[in-house]
C-alpha cells in the first residue's frame, strides 16, 4: 500500500517537473555561423589583412514554449569571443534581422550591454564574467581574448510556438597584431539571464582558425599550443614577463630534445634598439625554470627583463632572443624545434624564440 502511494507521489512529481521544464523551455538555437571574408579578388578566406574591415554572421532561431498567455518579454543577447587586440566593444557595429519584426529584412541595432546591467541569473557577476567562467576562451590556448556582450535595443514579446529565425551581423575591424585564433559566438536572452542548462543559451566555437596577417610582430597563435608561451603577450622591459616551456606539446625525445629533462634553464640575450646585446645570466639558480606542477610538464620563469639581462637604465631593449636548455647546454629547444613540430620543417636549427618588446 505504502509502495503504491510512493509511486503515485513520484508520478505527480515527475509530471510536475515535466510541466515546469516545458513551460520554461524557450529554446534558442544557433544554426550556422560565417567567418569567411571576401578579399579584393573576390576570394573567400578565413583571414584578413591587419586593420581591414570584417563581417561575421550568425544565424539561429527561437522555439518559444511558454504557458504564459502574454508570452515572454525579453531582449536577445549575443556575445562574441574575439582577441582583445580587436577592441570589438568600441569598433563593432552589430545589427540583426528577425522574423519577429514587421519587416524581416530590416536590420535593427544591438548595443554593448553596460557592465552595470547584470544578467538575471548570473549570481552577481557581469555577463562577461559569466561567459568567462563557463566557457573560458573556448578552444584557444592563450588568454588574451575577451567576450563582448550585446543586446537588442528593442525589447521583444515572443509568444508560445512562434518559431522564427534571427540573423546577426558583426561589422568590425581587425587589429594591428598578427594573430591566429578561434572565434566564438553565444546566444541567450535577458529574461533568462544566464540561468543553468543549455536550452536558453547556446555557444559555438569556429572550427577553423581565423588569421590576421601583414600587421605587427610575430604571429600570436591562439589556436595551437607551442613549446614556448608568454604572459602577458605584450610587454616592455619594465614589465614582469612569464616565459614558459610547455614540454608536453610533444613528448617524443626525437622531436623535443628536452622531453625527458627535469631541470630546464632559460638562456638567451636582450638586443637593444642601438644594437647592443646583453646575455642572460649563466645556467644556474637565476635561470632555472620552475616546474608548474608535478603532474604537468610545464616550466616557467618570471623575469623583469631590464634586471634579468642587466641592461643599463638608459638603454631600451628592442627584443629578446631566447631558448630552453638542459644543465650542460647539450640539448636545447628553440624556434626551429618548434617549427619542425608545428610546420614539419624549419629554416636551419638555431633560430631562437623571439620576444619583441612593444605595446599594442
Amino acid at each position: 500500500m505504502k509502495k503504491k502511494m510512493f509511486f503515485k507521489h513520484i508520478t505527480y512529481v515527475f509530471i510536475l517537473a515535466t510541466a515546469v521544464a516545458l513551460s520554461a523551455a524557450d529554446c534558442v538555437f544557433i544554426d550556422r555561423y560565417d567567418i569567411m571574408q571576401t578579399d579584393e579578388e573576390g576570394r573567400q578566406l578565413n583571414s584578413v589583412k591587419a586593420g581591414s574591415p570584417m563581417t561575421f554572421s550568425v544565424v539561429g532561431h527561437l522555439e518559444p514554449r511558454t504557458t504564459d498567455n502574454n508570452g515572454v518579454t525579453s531582449k536577445l543577447v549575443f556575445a562574441m569571443l574575439a582577441p582583445k587586440d580587436w577592441d570589438v566593444a568600441h569598433q563593432a557595429k552589430v545589427t540583426y534581422k528577425t522574423g519577429y519584426h514587421d519587416d524581416p529584412e530590416e536590420e535593427l541595432s544591438m548595443s554593448v550591454i553596460p557592465e552595470s546591467q547584470l544578467p538575471k541569473n548570473g549570481e552577481g557577476r557581469t555577463w562577461a564574467q559569466c561567459l568567462t567562467s563557463d566557457y573560458g576562451v573556448g578552444p584557444n590556448v592563450l588568454d588574451d581574448m575577451e567576450w563582448i556582450v550585446f543586446q537588442t535595443d528593442k525589447t521583444w514579446v515572443v509568444r508560445n510556438n512562434e518559431d522564427k529565425p534571427f540573423y546577426i551581423f558583426v561589422r568590425t575591424r581587425a587589429g594591428q597584431r598578427n594573430l591566429k585564433c578561434k572565434l566564438g559566438f553565444f546566444i541567450n536572452h535577458t529574461d533568462d539571464g544566464f540561468s543553468g542548462g543549455t536550452d536558453h543559451r547556446k555557444v559555438v566555437f569556429a572550427n577553423d582558425c581565423f588569421e590576421v596577417t601583414g600587421g605587427k610582430g610575430m604571429t600570436i597563435d591562439f589556436c595551437n599550443r607551442h613549446f614556448n608561451r608568454l604572459s602577458p603577450l605584450t610587454a616592455l622591459q619594465n614589465d614582469y614577463v612569464t616565459i614558459s616551456y610547455q614540454a608536453d606539446v610533444d613528448p617524443s625525445v626525437s622531436s623535443n630534445p628536452l622531453a625527458a629533462t627535469d631541470e630546464i634553464y632559460l638562456q638567451g640575450k636582450a638586443v637593444t634598439v642601438s644594437g647592443k646585446t646583453y646575455d642572460a645570466p649563466a645556467i644556474g639558480a637565476q635561470t632555472l625554470m620552475r616546474r608548474q606542477s608535478n603532474l604537468g610538464r610545464s616550466f616557467s620563469l618570471t623575469i623583469w627583463p631590464a634586471g634579468f639581462f642587466n641592461v643599463p637604465t638608459d638603454e631600451i631593449i628592442d627584443h629578446i632572443d631566447y631558448y630552453f636548455s638542459n644543465a650542460d647546454g647539450s640539448a636545447i629547444v628553440n624556434q626551429s624545434t618548434d617549427d619542425k613540430v608545428q610546420l614539419g620543417a624549419s629554416d636551419g636549427d638555431d633560430t631562437p624564440f623571439n620576444l619583441k618588446l612593444e605595446c599594442e
Binding site: 605584450t234 610587454a235 616592455l236 614589465d239 618570471t302 623583469w304 634586471g307
Partner: protein, 150 residues
Amino acid sequence: MKNIIKKTGSVLLMALALTGCSQFSDDSNPYDVAEAVKSFGGVWKLKSVTRNNIDITADMDFSKFELHMGDDGRYHIENYLPFVVEKDGTWHTDDPLYPFQLSFLEDGAASSVDVNFNFPVVNGQRSLLITLSPGCASNVYTYTLERTDN
C-alpha cells in the same frame, strides 16, 4: 525690573568676556576620537604582487625590494624593481589625515609622480596598496607593501 536689566547686562558682559577670551576655551568634544595622522615613515617591503589580477608573488623573488620612506620627507629604494619612480627624491601626501594620493619627486625631476593608493589595516598592520603600470599601459600591477619593524 531693575534686577532683570542688571542680570541681563551681566550675562551679556560675561558672554562678551568669554568670546573675547576664546583662546582659553576648549571647543573639542571630549568624547570624540581625533582622526590619526597617517604615518608613512619606515621601510616598506613587497608582500604580494599581482599582474592583471593574477597573483605572481611566488613566481619571482620580490622579497629584497625595499622602499625607505623617511620622516624627513625623503625616500630611496633598495634592490630596485619596477616602481613608479627609480631615483632618490622626496615624497609627500595630499592630506595628513585623509590621504588619497602619494607623490614622489625624483631629485632633479620637473614634476612629481602621483599615485592613488589604499591603506587598509591587515592583521593590525597598515598595508600600502599601490596600482601601477611601469611597462605597457595594458599591464596593471598591484603592489601590496608591508612595513618592516626595523
